[in-house]
Amino acid sequence: MDFMLSKEHEMARALFKEFAEKEVKPLAQEVDETEVFPRGTVEKMAKLGFLGIPVPKEYGGQGCDPLTYAMCVEELSKVCGTTGVIVSAHTSLCCDPIMTFGTEEQKQKYLVPLAKGEKLGAFGLTEPGAGTDAQGQQTKAVLDGDEWVLNGSKCFITNGKEADVYVIFAITGTVEKRGRMQKEISAFIVEKGTPGFTFGTKEKKMGIRGSSTYELIFTDCRIPKDNMLGQQGKGFNIAMHTLDGGRIGIASQALGLAEGALENTIAYVKERKQFGRAIGAFQNTQFQLADMATKVEAAQLLVYKAAMAKATQKVYSVEAAKAKLYAAEVAMEVTTKAVQLHGGYGYIREYDVERMMRDAKITEIYEGTSEVQRMVISGALLK
């Protein structure tokens, strides 16, 4: 067993780190403060292929493995949680399902521009009444001639108004399963600008405030029949498969936030003096840092293991769930401790750890709450 990264991965990390430091970090505070989507950064990332890292080259991507992609989200999130989730939602929740379940025509039409970063992607599963209970969908799609007609709404959609291509889930009928009638869910690709597809309110959030989180509204929205993604009735499986990958992205975001907070704190405790000494000279500070660093490394190992599992295994739900559960909880714990070690300054918005703590909270909630991850993990244990 070898815990060393390959030279390629080391160099890729150096690239992501350099980009994050030079292009992302200087804007992080402003993006948070103004809640403005960092369009310029997204364009720069598109040019460098950051929006198609795990997509094969024949579809306009970089042809790298999931670990490289995870490291990209990690390094971006070290300095800006908003930028991390933009890449994660685009890649894991839109590129990935089209890459996995799309027809060749759909891949050419949608995946290629997504991977090149010419278009941005989003994913719509959650509804006001269907969060963890994804089966509680209300959005309906009815076939009318050569078109599906969508009615309903989706909420809390990342990249909401900024995206161009959306993977949307809707009920296409009912099926009998073990004697009970169940909703049949299917997945669709919907383009921005389709008549009947509009945006509702922009959410005002605690963290990741530059990320564009919107409600999507479908009112007699007609999309071509060919825009169904995968088979009819397989939507729930597509959603769950997609979220397995997405959880690795969010776990990477959480990991990055924890690492960023730890790095900031190490620098701060060397500078900050109380009682005539740097606060890093106090044992409480040292022990807190030791715990933070140990947990961050444990989280990193779980995240990288899950990313490797995605590359080599057909099913990696448990690995992804463990990585997301642990990394998210470590992100919350480490960022909270980072604020505490910064004292009063940690509570001031001028200091990055304040933002990181707010950004970290969402990683315990979206793309499957920590409770859902525990359900997935324990479900596999007790099967």
């Binding site: 390629e8 160099m11 690239l15 350099e18 980009f19 460098l48 970089q62 042809g63 790298c64």
Partner: protein, 260 residues
């Protein structure tokens, strides 16, 4: 068009500097980067490639570890990499280095050679012009802009307060300034491709038309009397005065210290 770019792996000043007992740099023990002027030279070559079409070969001399800087160049878009490495070449000064690089470049076809103006570790700015002397081709140093016109290059050569426009027939050598451009980033896919490519490794035996007496530490006329990491200076003194007062203030200080 064929372009050869010389690059050097230099210590990353962020990571601290370490010396061998003989005063030369302990390159194996330091964090490294591609020398900034060389990176600008590489970017200039890649832009010429984008604009006119060219094959860009990157050459470096150094420890086997210097392969990294070639991979980085290839991940940015260079086509080939040549690593010149041999124990007998170690400890080289500018003379021995330029002799070595010229010996390597004699094996390559080229219309244009681009080097950085100077490396941040030695700061001599000698190697580029010396290579052109060894190869008997023209050199234009301190380039802030490069254009191709037929079989010539037209270069803006930077001075402190002006620039000269200089034209030279190819083949020729240009030394580039880091102000020349903003080097591109690598791409993730480019990195993985770069590691799949073959790198040419040459030793002493592969160098063309060079004499052993001009190679390595033994072939280096430069002798290092003493070397040390930068000495920490105090914070100094900051004063806010109008220009006339400042002059007399500084003059007084210099007198007190018996400088004047």
């Amino acid at each position: 068009m064929k372009i050869v770019v010389c690059v050097k792996q230099v210590p990353d000043t962020a990571g601290g500097v370490k010396f061998n007992p003989d005063g030369t740099l302990d390159r194996g023990a330091m964090l490294t980067i591609m020398n900034p002027d060389d990176k600008a030279g590489l970017e200039a070559a890649l832009r010429l490639k984008d604009q006119y079409g060219a094959e860009v070969t990157v050459v470096t001399m150094g420890l086997p570890k210097a392969e990294e800087v070639l991979r980085e160049a290839m991940a940015m878009g260079a086509d080939k990499g040549v690593l010149v490495t041999d124990r007998v070449l170690g400890g080289a000064d500018t003379w021995a280095t330029s002799t070595t690089l010229a010996g390597a470049i004699r094996n390559l076809e080229y219309d244009l050679i681009i080097t950085g103006r100077q490396a941040i570790d030695g700061d001599t700015a000698q190697v580029g012009p010396q290579i052109s002397e060894h190869l008997n081709i023209p050199v234009i140093s301190y380039a802030q802009d490069i254009k191709i016109e037929g079989d010539s290059v037209v270069v803006e050569r930077q001075y402190e307060d002006r620039y000269h426009v200089v034209k030279a027939k190819m083949p020729c050598l240009i030394t580039a300034l880091s102000e020349l451009n903003e080097p591109r980033y690598m791409t993730p896919g480019g990195i993985f491709d770069a590691y799949k490519q073959e790198i040419t490794v040459w030793g002493r035996a592969d160098l063309k038309d060079v004499d052993d007496s001009n190679l390595g530490l033994k072939g280096s006329p430069t002798k290092i009397a003493k070397a040390s990491d930068k000495v920490r200076k105090g914070a100094g003194e900051k004063v806010s005065l109008d220009p006339d007062e400042s002059v007399s203030y500084i003059v007084d200080k210099l007198k007190v210290k018996h400088v004047i």
